[in-house]
Symmetry: C2
Subunit: 241 residues, 2 copies
DNA sequence: AGCCATATGTTGCCTAGCGAACATACCAAG
DNA sequence: CTTGGTATGTTCGCTAGGCAACATATGGCT
């Protein structure tokens, strides 16, 4: 709707050799990703992998008592459903649409076949997985040591990097759930960022005004994760060639 | 010294088909792992992968300000150096010997060749990697939501599972560093566990007396991680066959 | 225009855990 | 036996962030 859908807006698909992409293309299905939609549940069956193009997916761990925490964000730089090719079939995490948009899905069996060719597609998927691991590890550290404000900055930056925009459609309540903090705590942090002129928001719309300052106010975790993604997946057309 | 060194004390090596293992075996080198030894540094070159047998390795993220947090534990159930076969060559984490013992190392180039056969060895390594991912993700959640005492219980249990013993040689100071908390906070938690009769310790020696109670006092994270390891790597001889 | 659901702002209280400073206890080497 | 280094215990004050209860504002709808 906003952008004409081209699977190659997804960086992984874009990085494929034509010969590989041409095999995949006929099997890609466009999927709408409405806000809050659960792509899969903890421990559930994975029939598809997803290549986000204009949406962002959040990987959440939900605990027995209902509280949750985001462990990674997947956007147009990646793929959702790594456990299919890693061999585990499922994961104990939940995948939720964090920012509405569209993406493409591919039958899991098809992806597994591609992966098992043990060629460029496999190498690309594994490199992406390593970047994702870095993101999870950094999230663990961030949860341990950083303030809500720092984490909010990191989260905004990581999310914006995965959209072609400086704007997010997202209530504070939802962000708080993702970060695993109280809504009030998040409001307070957001407030400070707004009065400092870094962001502006109202009723579920957040606009980043001053990105450089946001980066300065973020913890180092953002840079570490970004650097690792850039290192492992330089966004050059055709890395997997 | 304590046990006669057999590479197959490592569960991954043990799970290999004889034909695969026989290729690896001549290339395995026994390595001593003294407490505190740094196997590799964040971002450093990885020349070897390591298969712990009687030691435990801790994967730590160290931050700019020097504070740190453990993101995963690797013992005789696993392998250290996944980024070699994942394609990234390095990771932003540090690997430190957390419990002294021995292990085997294998030249990275050799492992990569084995991995690229795209057979049982590759499948086994990827399944292990997924289990490790679960451990990292659960660590992130645990850091967010659980008390120091709960985390200590989880940590003790995960560590013991990787040793054939109910005893750890480990000061509270070191455990605190691993968990990314203050030594005093850890002392307090350890104190409570001791007076409750779950553990006994003195000067760097911790003995678990009542494991069932320790499990009850731990957060759910321990069970989640353990269940996922068991699911992905059932410790049957020859899973990778 | 007026209404209502929902998003955001605010306040008070409480606890976990941080930081620092210090006390004690234990083991090993001289 | 003494001494010193290291491991553990304890205390005090402080702050971030949890929980609860409520006030306000805003945008879409009738």
């Amino acid at each position: 709707m906003t952008t004409l859908p081209d699977p190659r807006q997804n960086h992984l698909l874009d990085a494929l050799l034509s010969s590989d992409y041409d095999r995949l293309f006929p099997n890609l299905e466009l999927v709408k990703m409405p806000l809050g939609h659960v792509l899969y549940e903890s421990g559930g069956q994975l029939d598809y992998v997803y290549f986000p193009t204009t949406c962002i997916i959040s990987l959440l761990y939900v605990m027995e008592n209902g509280s949750s925490a985001e462990i990674a964000i997947v956007g147009n730089e990646g793929i959702l459903g790594i456990s299919l090719f890693m061999g585990g079939e499922t994961t104990p995490s939940r995948a939720v649409v964090q920012s509405a948009g569209v993406g493409y899905r591919l039958a899991g069996s098809f992806l597994k076949t591609e992966f098992n060719r043990a060629g460029p597609v496999q190498r690309l998927l594994l490199r992406y997985t390593q970047a994702l691991i870095t993101q999870m590890a950094q999230t663990a550290v961030c949860n341990r040591h950083h303030t809500v404000e720092q984490q909010l900055c990191r989260w905004l930056l990581l999310s914006l990097d995965r959209l072609a925009s400086n704007e997010l459609t997202m209530t504070q309540e939802l962000i708080a759930n993702m970060l695993g903090v109280r809504r009030e705590g998040l409001t307070e942090a957001a407030c400070k960022l707004q009065t400092s002129g870094l962001i502006e928001y109202s009723r579920g719309r957040i606009v980043v005004i001053d990105r450089p300052k946001l980066e300065m106010r973020s913890c180092e975790c953002y840079q570490v994760v970004k650097a690792e993604f850039d290192r492992l997946l330089p966004s050059l057309h055709g890395i997997a060639k």
